[in-house]
Amino acid sequence: MKRNEPLINLFGLILIILLAVLVYLALTDSGQGLTMLSADLEQRVSYSYLLKNVTAAGQTENQHGQAEVILGREDYENGAVNIVTAIVTDYRMLDTFGEILVLFAASAGVGLLMVERKRGKAKEASEIVKTAVPIIILFTLITGFYIISHGHLTPGGGFPGGAVIASAFILQFLAFQKSSRNKVFKILESLAGIGLLAMGLIGLYLEGSLFANFLPNGSLGATISAAGIMIIYALIGIKVAAELSSISADFIGE
């Protein structure tokens, strides 16, 4: 144990530096709070996400000669402010569906190859870990749900949010050495997968192409807008979280 001590100290030092830099970045952020409509958008990252430039119709030009999308516009394209989200869940949704299939294959492979067996005796986690982890899990879950539900407005979305939620479950496994909800994860995963396919097929039936957007979009930049993207991202988030959690539950064993 003593041989690892310098390494653990280094790890702690780097964690503290990381936190300090994050706090510094948060304090010196030039944005004015969290409201989308009142902030000075040219100073923020989301400004570059705003320049949706897929169809020329309905765009105006700003002083730099770039196309500009006006916030609050009704029913504009797929209704997402975040251009990455617009690409991932609408214009190139078939690719995203393929990615999800890859993740599903990985999860199924781990479940197939990991032989069920009795766990050996594991060292119990320390008192500090056991006390801190429930509190950390709470904040991690809230962050994950926030990232998923604001996928159409801010950076992030189904994949990062699902990974954050899964990391909360992994923290729980690490602290308490229990993984009894594997069946629940598998059921949630298959339900979310069926839901995604159903969204694609309904789009095919109503609009004539797979994963076409068929739900009302609302006004651009509002918290509840782009209904289709919100539903797709919620399903992707559930699926990714359940898949990653079930992979780690398979690793832990019974």
């Binding site: 690892n4 390494l7 050996g120 992030g156 990062p160 990974a163 992994i170 780690s248 690793f251």
Partner: protein
């Protein structure tokens, strides 16, 4: 800011190379986690926040946990690290 990115990149490079030459597998896994954390910080500095979130949760937590569980399974099957 560019100087910070260069310094962090050099630390990442050194960490990634030192993973190859660690004697103990546990130390190698921890060093790998540090490299992941620094790369998450780099993504934050480069304003790619969504990638940074994914890297921090998958690279620095999930992968490390999976490696440690795999190592534990190996040790249960009688694998011993050479000292």
């Amino acid at each position: 800011m560019e100087a910070a990115i260069i310094v962090l990149g050099l630390i990442m490079l050194a960490g990634a190379i030192s993973v190859l030459f660690q004697k103990s597998l546990k130390n190698a896994i921890i060093t790998f986690g540090i490299v992941s954390l620094i790369s998450a910080l780099m993504f934050t500095l480069m304003k790619a926040y969504d990638v940074a979130i994914t890297e921090a949760s998958i690279g620095a937590l999930l992968t490390i946990a999976l490696f440690f569980w795999a190592l534990k399974r190996l040790e249960e099957d009688g694998y011993n690290e050479k000292k």
